[in-house]
C-alpha cells in the first residue's frame, strides 16, 4: 500500500478555483444530497432567480451556483451533483467529494428525504467524516407527515452533533431556519461536534498511528481520520494528494507507518476490498441505528398507495399500453392545441412585417437592405417562432408534469429489458424520453449514465428520436401526405402517424445502440440500479415557470439565433 506519485491534484484544485467559486466575496456553502430528495427545490427556494448553471471544469457534470443574503451576510450556494455516497464510483461522486474535501466550503448542507431517511443518512455520515461544518436539511417533511412518518429532529441533531432543520422547500417552510443555521455554522457561532462512525477494533487500531502521523502534515487542511481511512482503503486520489503534500523524508516516515498498519489489517482482512466492505457496512449499520432511534412509522404500510399505482403503471398487461397512451395523449394535446395559437402568432407577426414594410418604404430604405432585414431575417424568425413556440409551450409543461410526478423512472423500468438486449443502459430510456422534449436536453441528461461506453451510445443515438422542435415538421408532413386524405379525422390520423413515427424512432434507437455496442463500442452492460422514487404531487406553478423559462424560452432563443443568420443567407442566395 505504498504511496505512488502520478496525480495532478494541484491541477484539479486549480480547476475548482477556476470554477469561480473560491474568489467570490461571499461565504461558500455546498449543497449535497441523494438524487430525488428535492435538492434542487431547496437550492431554488434559497437562491430564487439569483443563480446560474455551469459545467464542472473538465467534467460532463453540470453544477448550479446561486447567492442569497441572510443577516446581512452574502452566501454563495453551490449545488453539488446528487449522489448516494462519497466513495467515488462515478464522476458525480468524485465532483461532490472533491469539492467538499478540497474546496473547503464554510458550510455543507446535506439535503435528505424525510420519507427515506435511513438511506440518506449514509451520505450524511460520510460527509460528517470529512467536515465539521454541516447542516442537515430534512426535506419533504410534509410528505413524511402525510405518510405518518414521524422524525424526532432534536434527537437526530443530538445524535449527529450538527444542526438539523426540517423543511418543505416547495412551500418555503423551514427555509429561514435553514438559513439561520447555515449562518450560525459558517460563521462559527454554532460549534458542532459531528458524530464519527466507529469501525471495528482492527481498523481503529490500524488508523490511529496513521492519523497521528498525518495530523502535523495535513495541518487541518483535510480531516486526518478521514484521510487515514482512505489510505487503508487504497483510495488512489487521496494517496496522490497526500503524496504531493509531503517531502521525501516525510513520505518515508509515513510509508513505515502504513506498512505497520497493513500488518495489523492483514490479521483480519485479506485485501483492500474487504476493508472497504467493512467500512461501508459500518456506515450503513450506523445509519440504520440512528434511523431506528429517530424515525417512527405510525403506519407501516405507508407506501401502499405508491405500490398500488405501480401495480397498474408497470404491470405486464397495462404497463406498456398505458405508457403509449400517455405519450400519444401528450402528442395529441400538443398537435391539436398548437394549431390555433400558431396561426394567431403567424398572423400577428406577419402583420408586424407589413408594418415594417410600410415603414421601410416611407423612409426610403434601399431595396437590398429591406429585403435582407425584413424578408430575410425577420420573416424567417417570425416563422420559426410561430411554428416552434406554441408546441413547445404545450409540450414542455406536460412533459415536466410527468417528470415531476415521478413517472419517467417507471418508463425506464418498463423499457429496460429492450435496452438491455441492445446492450445499452436502462437509463437510456430516460434520456431518450428527454430527447422527445429536446435533443439537447436529452444529451445533457446522458450524464446520469455512469459507464462511459453506454453514455456515449445514449448520446449518439439521442438524435434518432424527434425532438419537440422537429414535431411541427413531422405534423405538417403527416397532415399533408397522410392525414390529408381523411378529411373528417385529420387530427386523429395525424396523431396516429406521429405516434407510429415515434415508435419507429425508438426502434431505430435500439437497433443503432445494438449495432454500436457490438461493433465500435463493444462491451458488457454495466450495473443498472434504478431508483423509483415515490409519486409526488406535482407543483403546477413551478412546472409552468420552469418549463417555460428554462426550456421553452431557452430553446427558442437559440433557435432564433440560428434562424436569423440562416434567414439572411437564404435571402441572399435567392436574391443575388
Amino acid at each position: 500500500m505504498g504511496l505512488t506519485s502520478k496525480s495532478t491534484w494541484i491541477g484539479a484544485l486549480k480547476d475548482e478555483v477556476l470554477f469561480g467559486i473560491l474568489d467570490t466575496d461571499g461565504t461558500v456553502v455546498a449543497l449535497a444530497g441523494n438524487p430525488n430528495t428535492g435538492k434542487s427545490t431547496v437550492f431554488n427556494s434559497l437562491t430564487g432567480l439569483k443563480q446560474h448553471t455551469g459545467n464542472w471544469p473538465g467534467k460532463t457534470v453540470t453544477g448550479a451556483v446561486g447567492t442569497f443574503q441572510h443577516n446581512g451576510e452574502k452566501f454563495t450556494l453551490i449545488d453539488l451533483p446528487g449522489t448516494y455516497s462519497l466513495l467515488p464510483n462515478s464522476v458525480e461522486e468524485e465532483v461532490a467529494r472533491d469539492f467538499i474535501c478540497f474546496a473547503k466550503p464554510q458550510c455543507c448542507v446535506v439535503v435528505t428525504d424525510a420519507t427515506c431517511l435511513e438511506r440518506n443518512l449514509n451520505l450524511v455520515l460520510q460527509v460528517l467524516e470529512i467536515t465539521d461544518r454541516v447542516v442537515v436539511c430534512v426535506n419533504l417533511i410534509d410528505e413524511a407527515q402525510r405518510k405518518k412518518i414521524h422524525i424526532n429532529l432534536e434527537r437526530l441533531s443530538d445524535m449527529l452533533g450538527v444542526p438539523v432543520v426540517g423543511t418543505n422547500a416547495r412551500e418555503q417552510v423551514g427555509l429561514d431556519d435553514l438559513k439561520e443555521e447555515i449562518y450560525n455554522v459558517s460563521t462559527g457561532k454554532r460549534k458542532t461536534s459531528p458524530f464519527k462512525v466507529e469501525y471495528d477494533e482492527t481498523i481503529e487500531k490500524a488508523i490511529k498511528p496513521i492519523q497521528e502521523s498525518l495530523d502535523p502534515l495535513l495541518k487541518g487542511s483535510i480531516d486526518s481520520r478521514w484521510a487515514a481511512l482512505r489510505l487503508i482503503e487504497g483510495d488512489t486520489r487521496i494517496i496522490d494528494t497526500v503524496n504531493h503534500a509531503l517531502a521525501p523524508l516525510q513520505k518515508e516516515k509515513l510509508n513505515a507507518v502504513l506498512d505497520e498498519a497493513e500488518k495489523i489489517l492483514k490479521s483480519k482482512y485479506a485485501d483492500a476490498d474487504e476493508i472497504r466492505d467493512a467500512i461501508a457496512t459500518a456506515i450503513v449499520l450506523k445509519a440504520e441505528e440512528i434511523s431506528k432511534a429517530t424515525v417512527k412509522f405510525e403506519n407501516t404500510q405507508y407506501n401502499n398507495l405508491d405500490r398500488k399505482i405501480d401495480d397498474i403503471l408497470t404491470s405486464k398487461l397495462f404497463g406498456i399500453p398505458i405508457m403509449l397512451l400517455l405519450l400519444s395523449l401528450i402528442f395529441w394535446l400538443t398537435i391539436s392545441g398548437a394549431n390555433y395559437p400558431s396561426e394567431m402568432l403567424a398572423k400577428g407577426l406577419f402583420y408586424v412585417e407589413d408594418l415594417l414594410t410600410d415603414l421601410a418604404y416611407s423612409f426610403g430604405v434601399p431595396e437590398w437592405l429591406y429585403g435582407a432585414v425584413v424578408l430575410g431575417v425577420y420573416r424567417t424568425v417570425a416563422w420559426v417562432i410561430s411554428v416552434m413556440l406554441p408546441p413547445m409551450a404545450i409540450f414542455f409543461p406536460l412533459f415536466t408534469l410527468l417528470e415531476d410526478l415521478g413517472y419517467l423512472p417507471r418508463v425506464a423500468f418498463n423499457l429496460d429489458s429492450f435496452f438491455k438486449k441492445a446492450h445499452a443502459h436502462g437509463k437510456q430510456a430516460l434520456t431518450m424520453c428527454m430527447g422527445f422534449g429536446c435533443n439537447a436536453a436529452g444529451i445533457v441528461a446522458c450524464r446520469i449514465i455512469d459507464s462511459p461506453r453506454e453514455r456515449l451510445i445514449a448520446t449518439i443515438t439521442n438524435n434518432f428520436v424527434p425532438c419537440n422542435g422537429r414535431f411541427p415538421t413531422l405534423i405538417a408532413l403527416s397532415t399533408i401526405f397522410i392525414a390529408g386524405s381523411f378529411a373528417a379525422f385529420q387530427t386523429f390520423v395525424a396523431t396516429i402517424t406521429v405516434t407510429v413515427a415515434i415508435v419507429f424512432a425508438v426502434i431505430t434507437t435500439l437497433m443503432v445502440s445494438k449495432i454500436l455496442s457490438q461493433t465500435i463500442l463493444k462491451g458488457l452492460p454495466s450495473t443498472f440500479t434504478l431508483e423509483m422514487p415515490p409519486y409526488r404531487k406535482p407543483q403546477i406553478g413551478r412546472i409552468l415557470v420552469r418549463s417555460l423559462l428554462d426550456r421553452t424560452i431557452f430553446i427558442l432563443v437559440r433557435a432564433v439565433m440560428v434562424a436569423a443568420p440562416a434567414g439572411l443567407v437564404i435571402w441572399l442566395m435567392t436574391n443575388t
Binding site: 448516494y84 464510483n89 435511513e118 449514509n122 408497470t314 418498463n414 438491455k420 450495473t527 431508483e531
Partner: protein, 78 residues
C-alpha cells in the same frame, strides 16, 4: 450452512435477508451504497412488463435491479 438463493430467484412478494454479495469491484460498491449489507431485509416487489428488471424494496427505497446484479446478491428467504 444456511440455504441461500440469489435475489433474482426470490419470489415476488417474498422477503429475503441478504447473506453475501458475490459481485466485485464497482458493482459491489454500488450495491453496498444502496444499503445491501449482510442481514439487510429485501422485499421483491414486482417484475417489469418483460420480466427484467425486478423492483425491490431496500431500506425504505424502491430500487430496480437487472438479473445480472440481482443474481450476485445471495439471500436467505424468510
Amino acid at each position: 450452512m444456511e440455504k441461500t438463493i440469489s435475489l433474482h430467484d426470490l419470489p415476488i412478494g417474498k422477503l429475503g435477508k441478504v447473506k453475501s454479495l458475490t459481485a466485485k469491484g464497482g458493482i459491489r460498491r454500488r450495491l453496498m451504497d444502496l444499503g445491501l449489507v449482510e442481514n439487510t431485509m429485501v422485499e421483491a416487489l414486482r417484475k417489469s412488463p418483460f420480466g427484467d428488471p425486478i423492483a425491490y424494496q431496500i431500506r425504505g427505497a424502491v430500487i430496480a435491479l437487472r438479473s445480472e446484479e440481482a443474481s450476485k446478491i445471495l439471500v436467505k428467504p424468510c
